[in-house]
């Protein structure tokens, strides 16, 4: 036979030898044998064949031997489930042992054996151990519940272990509390329901805070992490919690420090940002973060990733600490790159000189990646701090002079960005750039250079030659370069048409005929057609003024940032991604920062069922206010008269029960909620004595066409909305000498596509001196063209005399459609999505009835009649806040926030819409409706 025979025998020999040693009578020998077994196990050898022999050693009073056997069992029980049963008896017996160490060890090991049959036997001992008199056993048992949950979650729930675990939160021993917290949060994480197991109450929080001071560092991490999930009820609570957590910042364990930072960052959101407390807290946060940077590089890395978030959220904290982010020569590369990032974020006018000289040094380092990033950083500095732009450019020029290839290329890429930000300012350096043309071999650098040449073609004498040289290898270029080259040559042609015709034809044919890149082909065709049909238009399109590039292109999106702030110290903060994006099987619970506390307590409790992903950028106080609006309960009518609107069934039952006793047995069903449906707002108006007559606001007719211009025809009119249909009410008066006939009307293209829905019906002939009314139904399906101002409508009216032209303004409110009521969540989401620069503010002055106590309701009902729907209403610090939505005929949504102060005749209106140019008209409409 072959040699392999010997291998098997030797292997068997080893196992066999161990086997005989295990069965030795001498304890010492046994122990040595088990040790050998464990040693082979740790290096990955399979010693499962020895299972029965090892289990036999289990019944011993020698603790070390017992421990070793347990170690073995944990590893191999899974592969030998039937054999593992043999061990159960010993386990159960050990759980009753007088020595707490053995009790704890037994329950701990049992939890680690993932065999169903063993798990069944675990329940009884575990229940006992959870109530054990020794805290060491209790804390071990707490963790065991989490293990069991991992193996068999339904069993844990059925057996009531969760409740027992919750009871441990109030244990007298802080270590037990900490482990219970840890176990609960692990169960939470893996539970499928996604809803938190333990409702954090101020009492539990208080207990946790007490335990925090006394437990081990790891326990502190667990407790702090679970505190981060709690939302304090009010400002005062947030502040006192912060005060109790602040000492943790001085802990030697970096994990504790960072977890504490997380809780503080989150709770700080609730405190007014100008308060003294926040200022002092901000000061206290800086030193611990700085200290983290002097620990091991791994800690530094994680800390830096988190600091990156913190700096974006609260730049104040570290604004004076620039120097600690200077790169050390022996930092690992991953630390260097992170530091660079943060340096740029902190760069400001005050420290830019320092930063720049550092960056210049970095650009001469050896590591290519780092140098590239440093050069990029110089460019970002220039874009961020305008005052430094000049110095940055000269630094970049110095770097280009070094002729180090990758430095030059990177520098050219960033100079392109600088040109975008500060057009026509630094073109003097172009000649230097052109000198390096030949050395560029990276597509991005080539594309950037070509862009620069095209952009400043009129100032570069030999631009055509330069571009032509690029054109030679057109087919081999990267598509990015090809596109850029195409555009640049077209630009050149438009600027210097005389001598570049050949060039442009060449590039167009290359792009359209010889390329199989659809992008390139399309762009080529577009240019070609533009140039061939209307060179002037082409000039306007191609050489159009470009919008300036924004300062911070690499900032995280605010909602994501806020979510990540809640995840400081976790993996999410290292990846800068929400956990749902990378953790498998996580239900969609997303954390959000608490709203600023100026919303009273009223709304906050009602958000119990926070199933909705309510991620709100709290820096925007407006939206912060919206958060405390009830998101969960869609039934709450936005009417003031419903202060006790039912928030949950519990409240409902209480109410119903109370009524039952009051009214005897008259009704078994609870009283109808006092919330009024939104549609009865008109009724409300009646109750509150608002002028009931004020139906839809109708502007008085205005004269559109005076008789002297209309050859004797005088037209006045207005727009009105009746039963969901837009009408143009017109009055024709004949001031001429003879009768008029043959009336017809036509509209020019307009912003809202308004067009007559039926022919004009006017009394015809219209005798002299007679006025006739006509109502023209309008449709919004006509051709659209943007007018200036938006609401302008150009009208042509024809009669037997002539064709008359006039323009009139459509009042915006006539364009508000009936289905303009937005769902509350949609409203919230939309408000959030629309960028802040689309927000417009306006003050409506001297609104009548403002002294009236029910003024807000009047406003609600009035606006309602005009198809402006109130989504929610809240009272903040005595001011009424109304959130309203409306929709225009062309489907544009407009979201408004009204701030009404009692007694103040002025109303502040903030408007958000994706098309903010409708704002003017909407303001006008509000003005009209509220004054009318």
């Amino acid at each position: 036979m072959t040699d392999s025979k010997y291998f098997t025998t030797t292997k068997k020999g080893e196992i066999f030898e161990l086997k005989s040693e295990l069965n030795n009578d001498k304890k010492e020998k046994k122990k040595e044998a088990v040790k050998k077994v464990i040693a082979s196990m740790t290096v990955g050898k399979d010693v499962s064949a020895l299972f029965p022999d090892v289990v036999n050693c289990m019944q011993t009073d020698n603790l070390e031997l017992k421990k070793l056997v347990y170690l073995y069992l944990m590893n191999y029980a899974k592969s030998q489930p039937d054999m593992a049963i043999m061990a159960v008896n010993t386990f159960v017996k050990d759980c009753e042992d007088p020595n707490p160490l053995i009790r704890a060890l037994a329950v701990r090991t049992m939890g680690c054996i993932r065999v169903d049959k063993i798990t069944e036997y675990l329940c009884e001992p575990l229940r006992k151990c959870l109530k054990d008199e020794d805290p060491y056993v209790r804390k071990t048992a707490a963790v065991c519940v989490a293990k069991l949950y991992d193996i068999n979650s339904s069993m844990v729930e059925d057996q009531g272990f969760l409740d027992q675990l919750k009871d441990l939160l109030s244990d007298s021993n802080p270590m037990v509390v900490a482990n219970a917290v840890a176990a609960l949060s692990e169960i939470n994480e893996s539970s499928s329901s996604g809803s938190p197991l333990v409702e954090m109450t101020p009492q539990t929080v208080n207990k946790l805070l007490t335990a925090l001071n006394e437990c081990t560092e790891w326990g502190q991490v667990f407790i702090l992490d679970s505190l981060a999930n709690y939302s304090p009820r009010d400002e005062r609570e947030a502040q006192s919690t912060c005060e109790r957590i602040t000492p943790r910042l001085a802990h030697a364990n970096a994990a504790v420090v960072l977890s504490a930072v997380k809780v503080l960052m989150k709770f700080m959101e609730m405190l007014p940002s100008d308060s003294e407390f926040v200022t002092s807290l901000t000061k206290k946060l800086a030193p611990p973060l700085v200290t983290l940077l002097s620990s091991e590089p791994e800690v530094q890395y994680v800390a830096l990733r988190n600091i990156n978030l913190i700096v974006q959220k609260r730049p104040d904290i570290l604004k004076h600490e620039m120097k600690v982010f200077f790169v050390k020569y022996n930092d690992p590369i991953y630390v260097k790159l992170e530091k660079l990032d943060i340096m740029i974020r902190l760069a400001s006018q005050a420290n830019v000189a320092q930063v720049l000289s550092e960056l210049k040094e970095y650009a001469t380092e050896v590591d290519v990646d780092f140098v590239r990033k440093a050069v990029r950083a110089i460019g970002r500095c220039a874009i961020k701090v305008e005052q430094s732009a000049e110095r940055c450019v000269s630094t970049l020029l110095d770097l280009i002079q070094t002729k180090v290839n990758y430095v030059v290329q990177e520098a050219i890429v960033v100079i392109k960005d600088i040109f975008r930000k500060y057009p026509n300012k630094y073109e003097s350096i172009i000649s230097t750039l052109c000198e390096n043309l030949d050395t560029l071999d990276e597509p991005e650098a080539r594309a950037s250079m070509i862009w620069i040449i095209g952009e400043y073609a009129e100032r570069i004498d030999n631009a055509d030659e330069l571009l032509e040289s690029f054109l030679e290898g057109f087919a081999d270029e990267n598509s990015q370069v090809q596109l850029q080259l195409l555009t640049a040559i077209v630009k050149l042609f438009l600027k210097r048409p005389s001598d570049t015709q050949e060039l442009v034809q060449q590039v167009l044919s290359l792009a359209t005929q010889d390329s199989d890149n659809p992008d390139l082909r399309d762009r080529g065709f577009i240019y070609w057609r533009l140039l061939s049909t209307d060179p002037a238009a082409a000039k306007e399109v191609v050489l159009a003024e470009k919008p300036l590039i924004s300062e911070e292109t690499d900032l995280l999106e605010p909602t994501l940032l806020d979510e990540l702030i809640c995840h400081i110290s976790s993996l999410a903060s290292v990846y800068h991604k929400p956990p749902s994006a990378f953790v498998e099987g996580r239900s969609g619970i997303r954390k959000s920062l608490p709203a600023s506390a100026r919303a009273g307590s009223e709304g906050v409790e009602s958000t119990e069922s926070q199933a909705a992903p309510a991620v709100i950028p709290a820096q925007d106080s407006l939206i912060g206010d919206l958060l405390s609006m009830d998101i969960g309960g869609p039934t709450v009518a936005p009417v003031a008269a419903a202060p006790a609107a039912p928030f949950g069934s519990a409240a409902m039952d209480l109410l119903g029960g109370g009524l039952d006793t009051l009214l005897g047995e008259t009704s078994s069903s609870p009283a109808p909620p006092s919330a009024l449906p939104a549609s009865s707002a008109a009724l409300l108006g009646d109750i509150f004595g608002a002028p009931a007559a004020s139906a839809t606001y109708v502007a008085p007719k205005t004269t559109w066409l005076p008789a002297e211009k209309g050859k004797g025809l005088d037209i006045s009119g207005s727009f009105v909305r009746r039963n969901g249909q837009l009408f143009m009410d017109l009055t024709f008066s004949n001031k001429a000498m003879q009768p008029m006939l043959g009336f017809a009307i036509q509209f020019n293209k307009n912003s809202f596509g308004i067009t007559p829905a039926s022919p004009l019906q006017v009394q015809s002939p219209l005798p002299p001196g007679v006025a006739a009314d006509a109502s023209l139904p309008l449709a919004t399906t006509g051709p659209v063209q943007k007018m200036e101002p938006l609401t302008t409508l150009q009208v042509a009216v024809k009669n037997n005399v002539d064709v008359m032209y006039f323009a009139c303004q459509i009042p915006m409110h006539a364009l508000f459609v009936e289905d303009g009521q937005m769902d509350k969540r949609v409203f919230l989401a939309t408000w959030k999505e629309i960028p802040a620069q689309n927000e417009v503010q306006y003050t409506i002055t001297n609104v009548m009835h403002s002294a009236d106590s029910n003024f807000t309701d009047t406003v609600v009902s009035r606006m309602q009649q005009n198809n402006v729907f109130t989504i929610a209403k809240r009272n903040v610090e005595g001011q009424d806040m109304l959130y309203q939505s409306l929709k225009l005929t062309n489907g544009i949504w407009v979201l408004n926030e009204l701030k009404i102060q009692p007694g103040n005749p002025n109303i502040t209106l903030s408007l958000k819409s994706r098309t903010p140019n409708v704002a003017e008209g909407v303001f006008q409409a509000y003005d009209n409706i509220l004054h009318g």
């Binding site: 421990k67 707490p100 081990t216 001085a250 030697a252 970096a254 700085v290 200290t291 791994e298 800690v299």
Partner: protein, 376 residues
């Protein structure tokens, strides 16, 4: 939480693994090896690596990688800190932590790991407690154990485990009661070409070796505690007392531990003990360069400066150095391009100096070098 731990040696062998939950195949380390191949030096491997199903969090200590595998969202710092603590414990137990030592003490290591973590939750990480649970190995005890039949594993619950001072064991007795404090300060300064300080800060530590009987309650006060910008303490320090009186009051653990670390930031003026006069010129007349560095003491308050080491990471183009020192000796590693000059003591009367020529690869552009100095 922490699922598994793999210990990997520099040549890329997993020589030890421990699983606290279900077993994870070592093939997960392949992702780590991928990154290892990419990194130019072992220090440059990113500490957090994401793989499709797991997260690998690693630390690099004593030329070994300790790779923890997690499957859920965890606090990475928590894992990093824990791994460092594991290595500290090994060092504490075996006086050094190398591959061969770990292999030699497989079982103790395994027991320790099992004691330190349960189901991914840290259980006992204080070395005082661990030492009560598992006695550190030494030859004497091994002999004694074989004779008496006792074991290395204690059968009683460690006394300090659940008390309010978990870091100290009870019943400590010494014939000579002594306590030593070491103040270690690292000055970190960046000095520009002209000699002015760009940035200087101090990172300091107070390490103690306390051998006192019973339950001693110590307090330590400072002359000028206001200097500390940021402090972090061993858990034994009473924070309230520090807040109110700026006095360190504590019941110390037994043995060696770090009492506090502090940071003195750039706002305070930091006295830098040495100055460097340098003239470094790469590329002089073609392919050579010259170097001339003199060290001198500065603001030493009368103390002598010892163990001075100067390191210069040279640019890639440097081939070799031919230098002469008047004190100490220098080495130049042509692979890492690191010039190390072990100066030793600075004598005020005869300032240490190093000078000589540097041979350069021809044709490469000149790059400035950043001399940096380590003083201890």
């Amino acid at each position: 939480m922490i699922h598994s731990l793999f210990i990997i040696n520099p040549s890329g062998d997993v020589f030890m693994e421990k699983h606290w939950k279900s077993v994870i195949s070592r093939s997960v380390c392949d992702y780590f090896f991928d990154h290892q191949r990419k990194a130019s030096s072992p220090e440059d491997i990113p500490p957090v690596i994401a793989t499709p199903h797991h997260y690998l969090i690693s630390v690099y200590r004593s030329s070994m990688f300790f790779v923890a595998v997690c499957t859920t969202e965890v606090a990475p710092l928590f894992v990093v800190e824990f791994l460092h603590r594991v290595v500290d414990t090994f060092e504490d137990y075996f006086s050094e932590c190398t591959e061969s030592i770990i292999k030699e003490h497989y079982v103790v290591v395994y027991e320790l790991l099992d004691e330190m973590l349960d189901n991914g939750f840290p259980l006992a990480t204080e070395s005082n407690i661990l030492k009560e649970l598992i006695k550190p190995p030494n030859i004497l005890r091994t002999i004694a154990n074989t004779v008496t039949g006792k074991s290395n594993v204690s059968s009683t619950l460690p006394s300090g485990q659940l008390s309010n001072i978990p870091w100290r064991r009870t019943g400590v007795k010494y014939t000579n009661n002594e306590a030593y404090f070491d103040m270690i300060e690292e000055v970190d300064a960046i000095i520009d070409k002209s000699g002015s300080t760009v940035c200087a800060e101090i990172q300091g530590y107070i390490d103690c070796c306390i051998k006192l009987s019973g339950m001693p309650d110590l307090s330590l006060s400072f002359v000028n505690p206001r200097l500390f910008d940021d402090v972090s303490f061993h858990p034994c320090v009473r924070f309230k007392r520090w807040e109110s009186e700026r006095v360190l009051s504590f019941i110390p653990p037994d043995g060696n531990f770090r009492l506090m670390s502090y940071h003195i930031g750039s706002q305070s003026i930091v006295a830098i003990p040495v100055y460097v006069r340098h003239s470094l010129c790469l590329r002089e007349s073609g392919s050579g360069g010259r170097l001339d560095i003199t060290l001198g003491p500065k603001q030493t308050l009368g103390r002598t400066i010892e163990n001075v080491v100067l390191e210069i990471p040279m640019p890639k183009s440097v081939l070799n150095c031919g230098l002469v020192t008047n004190q100490g000796k220098y080495t130049f590693d042509p692979v890492s391009k690191l010039l190390v000059w072990e100066v030793g003591r600075i004598d005020v009367t005869k300032l240490p100096n190093i000078r000589g020529t540097i041979s350069l690869q021809s044709g490469s552009p000149p790059v400035e070098a950043n001399p940096s100095i380590n003083v201890s």
